[in-house]
């Protein structure tokens, strides 16, 4: 038998329960995250119109640069201020 050293980060896969998907977005606060790719705002403007029509409260967020993950503070802000989030991933 060969014994080797584990080259991975040895993280036990922690199974995190996802939030329940809401039945409807009506009356909920929905965050729209613009990752700063060109024309992401065009997409999100239209989504905002549709959400307003549904009776959602919309909050807008924008990453400083699309090349890096959203700052921790921004992620925390979205998690505490919103019931759901929609992200415009690319141009």
């Amino acid at each position: 038998m060969t014994t080797v050293l584990d080259p991975t980060n040895e993280s036990t896969p922690a199974v995190l329960e996802r939030c329940m998907r809401p039945e409807s977005l009506a009356g909920l606060t929905v965050g729209l995250l613009d990752i700063s790719k060109p024309r992401g705002n065009v997409f999100l403007d239209r989504v905002e119109e549709r959400l307003n029509a549904l009776g959602s409260t919309v909050r807008r967020y924008k990453k400083p640069t699309f090349t890096k993950p959203a700052p921790v503070d921004m992620r925390h802000q979205i998690a505490t201020e919103c019931d759901a989030v929609i992200e415009a991933l690319a141009d």
Partner: protein, 457 residues
């Protein structure tokens, strides 16, 4: 030689003799078998014979090594001991410290001190297939990272195995010297490459270099490492013929080890966080040394602030090399015109000030400049002058091409690369009027900034 002496000693006081190889030794007293060298290893025996005095509980009180008649007589209190033997013989090296056995012994005796989790492959598993099955491979075969091999790899650095080197994206995991060594073994590195690999991991796991963004981007770029300083030669890197290609172990495995760290420790895998649309052979692992000896110019590292003769590594975010062919220019002006012409089209003629690039001049192209008395600063100044772009030529819609600058930029002169965004190095074989350019990714603080770091032992 000491065989009869052992019998003499045993007549006066209790004596236990352990034999490492030849069980017919000694004849004057019954010896015990230490063929597996466990007793020798646990007592740190470096020379045979070693004579150890223990107390009633077996704890060591004193030891002498080799044969010195005076020492043995004093040690045993027998002034007649070995009176007929020579005065001094140094003894022999213990098998337990024989280089061919010591790594395996260190691992077997549990003295390794390695903290990494052990993975046992089943009896019927092929060990190479087992590593593929566990998702550890970049697609090429891996060297099984056994304890003995990892311990040998760690001999390549003075750092302690438990030292945390960096926090590796995208999973943001602290990585130790030991874990880098495990991946370096798998990549096929020799121990003397380890300091380079460690420095490379440090360099890419900085906010400036931004390996996370580099992984996540759909552009086909990877971390490329340029090595400067004497360590290039000491570890046998190739800066000559086929410098970016196959054939040299250090060139090929250093970058691969870094990519295995990103994959296995950072968790960045193609199709996961790695979203490259097409990828590049450069993403398997690309490191090469600059040919410092072949040019009077200062090196890439020196231009970036390192002192001459210091071992260093520069990490850049780049695609693979693309040829620049000029077989007819005989003046530095003509060659510079041609190189500028090629650089202006990196990624596309419409891409301006958004990416860095690394230009690697070949020896035959370098000779045009050296013969004409141009130094690096003169070459850079002349080249950058030729890399200014008239924005009217690349406004969106011009030339029947939708890509380009917005109309608001019309009527301006802009540089192809941001200030400091063009990097220059020298490498390649002695013949061939070909240089290369590696184009980059989003440059500057919002993307990736090249990082130069000293390589320490």
């Amino acid at each position: 030689m000491v065989d009869p002496i052992l019998g003499d000693i045993a007549k006066g006081e209790p004596l236990t003799v352990y034999t490492q190889d030849d069980l017919t030794f000694p004849e004057s007293i019954a010896g015990l078998d230490d063929l597996d060298l466990s007793m020798s290893w646990h007592h740190n025996i470096e020379t045979v014979p070693t004579l150890i005095r223990v107390d009633a509980n077996g704890a060591e009180e004193d030891r002498i090594i080799g044969w010195s008649r005076d020492q043995w007589q004093a040690f045993t209190g027998d002034i007649e001991l070995g009176i007929t033997l020579p005065e001094f013989r140094p003894g022999c090296g213990s098998l337990s410290v024989d280089p061919s056995r010591s790594d395996e012994l260190n691992a077997r005796m549990g003295g390794s001190g390695l903290a990494t989790r052990r993975v046992d492959f089943a009896e019927l598993e092929d060990e190479f297939e087992a590593m593929y099955d566990r998702g550890w491979s970049d697609g090429l075969p891996l060297v099984p990272p056994t304890e003995a091999r990892v311990l040998r790899m760690l001999e390549g650095t003075t750092r302690t195995p438990g030292e945390v080197v960096a926090n590796v994206p995208p999973d943001l995991v602290d990585i130790t010297v030991e874990k880098i060594a495990v991946n370096a073994v798998m990549a096929g590195c020799k121990p003397e490459y380890l300091p380079v690999v460690i420095t490379a991991v440090e360099a890419i796991c900085t906010d400036e270099f931004n390996i996370h963004g580099l992984l996540a981007t759909t552009m086909s770029v990877g971390p490329v490492f340029v090595i400067n300083g004497p360590i290039r030669r000491e570890i046998g890197m190739n800066s000559g013929i086929n410098v970016f290609g196959q054939g040299n172990r250090a060139n090929l495995t250093i970058g691969r080890a870094v990519q295995l760290v990103v994959r296995n420790v950072g968790g960045g895998r193609p199709g996961g966080v790695d979203r490259a649309a097409q990828g590049s052979p450069a993403k398997i692992g690309l490191a090469f040394p600059e040919d410092e000896e072949g040019t009077p110019w200062i090196s890439l590292a020196e231009e970036r602030g390192m002192d001459p003769g210091v071992n260093s590594l520069t990490a850049l975010c780049l695609e693979g090399p693309r040829l620049i062919v000029d077989q007819l220019s005989r003046t530095p002006e003509s060659l510079t015109n041609l190189i500028a012409d090629a650089l202006l089209t990196t990624h596309s003629s419409r891409m301006v000030a958004g990416i860095d690039a690394l230009l690697v001049l070949s020896p035959e192209h370098m000779a045009r400049y050296v013969d004409a008395g141009w130094d690096r600063a003169r070459f850079r100044a002349e080249l950058e002058e030729r890399l200014m772009i008239d924005t009217d030529d690349i406004i969106r819609g011009t030339g029947g091409i939708d890509e380009g600058l917005p109309a608001a930029f019309a009527g301006k002169q802009v540089p192809k690369f941001r200030p400091g965004g063009l990097h220059i190095a020298h490498a390649g074989g002695p013949a061939g009027l070909f240089s290369s350019v590696f184009a980059g990714w989003v440059s500057g603080p919002t993307g990736s900034v090249p990082v130069t770091k000293e390589i320490t032992p």
